[in-house]
């Protein structure tokens, strides 16, 4: 009962401390927004910022080469701009005004005319063995996509293939008729003269790029839980400061003089931060959804136990740190070092999937990692594996128990 009085008092003090509140809620929100903006995923920027800028030099200027441009324009992830000549486009590429340079050479139509049906289906043996090079098409990637230049060439080749394949097939009347019949059988309602051709090799890429919402959310699906977990653990420094403040004010002695037990004092002082932590997490997830279009996964209710277990682990760590440090300076030095190091190791700052295997394993010594694994399971998997979520929650509670036990033992001077 008396513990609740301490809780009530601390909540009142916390609500009067605007700086603490802003650091706990506004700061992580700002961080998430900044990271989102940096990756081009904030509000209306989402469409524009995500696009890959392609500079096109069409030296051929024919119907067939125009079809390549049209195909590429159909990919929402690309933003095309035309250049008069290759040097001008190269300058733009060097200045990072465009990310990719697509050059369609003057021999393109002639090269396509030379193709046989055999070449379409025997890419390794036929004329298309050298792909874009044969077609007199060149693709150059700027620094933005330097590491993905091969992938970019493959996409361009696939799209180009799509544009000329029917032209080549029409050379073989029998095959064209056969494909037309097969197409009519499988899709009787379809109209138009164009026969169906081999499956579009870029279909999956197109789906990915056209699925703007999915791609858009990927950043926030990772950034929001990452920074949320990091800032949840920042509660550690505030808790430690609260205990030190109580000690410095002399009111910790007053609490001990009142008929309140040691567990009462510890629990009373821990609960407000647990509540703040839960509110903080809920607000950040809500903001992630409302402001940034983040999705809560197939089973959003699973977020709740992970939130709770993470906050319990964070506040228990806070209690432990509070019992170990003696001064504000120690809180700043050790508390911040601990919180930032744990966040860095665990993958709060950089997605765990980007980390090397060793770091991922090392991260498992922090509660943060287990929280992130659970959130990844819930937010990013079509069917979250319940066993993984439960395991993460149990491990988070085990961390909490360990931290609380040390804090309990260290605070024995309260009796």
């Amino acid at each position: 009962m008396n513990a609740l009085e301490i809780t009530r008092k601390d909540l009142l003090l916390l609500f009067r401390d605007r700086r603490t509140l802003s650091v706990l809620v506004a700061l992580p929100l700002a961080f998430i927004a900044i990271i989102g903006s940096s990756t081009g995923q904030l509000f209306s920027q989402a469409g524009a910022a995500r696009k890959i800028k392609v500079g096109v030099v069409n030296a051929q200027q024919g119907e067939l080469s125009d079809r390549i441009v049209q195909e590429l324009e159909g990919i929402s992830a690309l933003e095309l701009s035309n250049f008069e000549d290759r040097p001008a486009a190269r300058t733009a590429l060097a200045e990072d005004k465009i990310h990719v340079l697509l050059y369609i050479g003057p021999s393109y139509v002639a090269r396509v005319d030379a193709l046989e049906v055999f070449d379409l289906f025997h890419l390794q043996q036929g004329r298309l063995k050298h792909k874009l090079e044969y077609l007199d098409i060149a693709v150059e990637s700027g620094s933005f996509l330097a590491n993905a230049s091969e992938l970019v060439r493959e996409v361009v080749f696939a799209k180009t293939y799509q544009t000329f394949a029917d032209t080549v097939i029409k050379k073989d009347k029998g095959l064209a008729l056969h494909i037309k019949r097969a197409s009519d059988k499988s899709a009787p309602e379809s109209e138009g003269e164009s026969p169906e051709f081999p499956p579009d090799p870029t279909q999956s890429l197109s789906e990915l790029s056209s699925g703007a919402k999915n791609f858009n959310s990927i950043v926030y699906q990772t950034v929001v839980p990452g920074y949320t977990v990091m800032f949840v653990f920042f509660i550690v420094t505030f808790m430690a400061r609260s205990f030190i403040g109580e000690r410095d004010l002399g009111t910790l002695n007053r609490l001990q003089l009142a008929p309140v037990s040691r567990p009462g004092i510890l629990i009373g002082k821990t609960i407000p931060f647990l509540i703040i932590s839960l509110v903080q997490t809920a607000l950040l997830f809500l903001a992630g959804r409302v402001l940034f279009g983040m999705e809560w996964g197939a089973q959003p209710l699973l977020i709740l136990p992970v939130m709770l277990c993470t906050s319990i682990a964070a506040t228990s760590l806070g209690l432990m740190v509070a019992s170990l440090v003696r001064t504000e300076a120690q809180v700043s030095a050790y508390g911040n070092f601990l919180v930032l190091t744990m966040a860095g190791i665990s993958g709060c700052m950089m997605p765990r999937n980007w980390q090397p295997e060793l770091m991922q394993q090392l991260g498992l010594v922090t509660p943060h990692s287990w929280a992130l694994i659970a959130y990844d399971q819930i937010l990013n998997r079509p069917e979250p594996e319940m066993a993984v979520v439960v395991k993460c929650c149990v491990i988070l509670l085990a961390f909490a128990l360990g931290f609380f036990s040390i804090g309990w033992w260290r605070s024995r001077e309260l009796e």
Binding site: N2, E5, L13, G250, T251, N253, Q256, L257, A258, P259
Partner: protein, 319 residues
């Protein structure tokens, strides 16, 4: 049985003995003064009385309860005014009182009434809804005092409650202490202000190095001591000193306006008969006359609590 019973209390920090077998008692309605220089063991004793430190041995019972047996009951009858302020600066005076009142299990109308009464008692009714951080030093001290009274304790520990306060607040706080005393509350009062202790306390204990040096009522302590007679004399110590051996002490020479002076001090026990001092004084005056010394002034210095304290604990600086 006394309200507070302290028996053979001991506490050591490593090899340092902070409190060495202290025993005393305080009755209901009595103010007991605890004096001691810095490092005497006063604060450790107060902490042990308040239950904030555990004793190595010995016992403390307040109202029949001890911290080993009846801890919560003891806390309910004990009020502590710590030396350092112990209030929340970001809560108002009323909120501070309310919080600590609720911690003691006081609720509803009773809590409301007690808060109003204490605010009146400590003179903060007009500032009840102002934040602690806006208060002057004296107001903070008064609030610090009020927090200890809200649960109406039977025994109050006051550890230098008037440090750094203005005369008005000090006077108000001392009046509050007297008021509590008249209500039958027992108090132990630690202070460095001797005049406060002399003005408030029925009995006084002086401790140093963890040991009790003396204790008793002020009359008992001061009646056993001296009232010295000081003669300011113009003359040389070498000439006067040897002639007064056994009759008076001659302090080192000082030069005032180019003239050499000495203080001749005749120690006088309060129990000396006036005849004895008269005889001695006549003899001293005669000797001074023979030595050609001119008497400039004569005064009696009463042996008050401060002089007794310094005599018992020494003049060496304490850290």
């Amino acid at each position: 049985m006394s309200l507070l019973e302290v028996v053979d209390l001991r506490k050591s920090y490593g090899s340092h003995v902070a409190v060495d077998g202290l025993s005393f008692s305080v009755e209901a309605g009595e103010v007991f003064g605890l004096l001691g220089p810095n490092g005497a063991g006063k604060s450790t004793t107060m902490m042990m009385l308040a239950g904030l430190r555990s004793a190595d041995s010995g016992s403390v019972t307040i109202g029949g309860y001890s911290f080993d047996c009846g801890r919560d009951e003891l806390k309910r009858i004990l009020g502590v005014v710590p030396q350092d302020l112990a209030i929340y600066p970001d809560l108002t005076a009323r909120e501070n009182l309310k919080f600590f009142g609720r911690l003691h299990g006081i609720r509803g109308a009773e809590l409301h009434n007690r808060i109003d009464r204490v605010l009146e008692q400590i003179g903060l009714t007009q500032n009840a809804d102002s934040y602690g951080h806006t208060f002057s030093g004296g107001m903070k001290r008064r609030l610090n005092f009020g927090v200890a009274l809200l649960h109406e304790p039977r025994f109050v520990i006051l550890d230098e409650p008037t440090v750094g306060v203005d005369p008005q607040s000090r006077s108000h706080l001392l009046d509050c202490v007297r008021g509590l005393c008249s209500e039958g509350v027992g108090l132990i009062y630690a202070s460095h202000y001797m005049e406060e202790v002399e003005a408030l306390c029925d009995r006084v204990a002086i401790i140093d190095k963890g040991k009790l040096l003396t204790s008793g009522t002020l009359d008992q302590l001061l009646s056993d001591s001296r009232a010295d007679l000081h003669l300011r004399v113009r003359g040389r110590r070498a000439r006067i000193g040897p002639r007064l051996v056994g009759l008076a002490d001659v302090e080192p020479e000082t030069v005032v306006d180019g003239q050499t002076e000495v203080q001749v001090v005749m120690h006088r026990d309060r129990r000396d008969s006036s005849f004895a001092i008269n005889d001695r004084l006549s003899l001293v005056l005669e000797i001074l006359k023979q030595a050609g010394a001119e008497i400039l002034s004569m005064e009696t210095k009463e042996f008050n609590l401060e002089r007794l304290f310094l005599e018992l604990t020494g003049r060496r600086l304490r850290d």
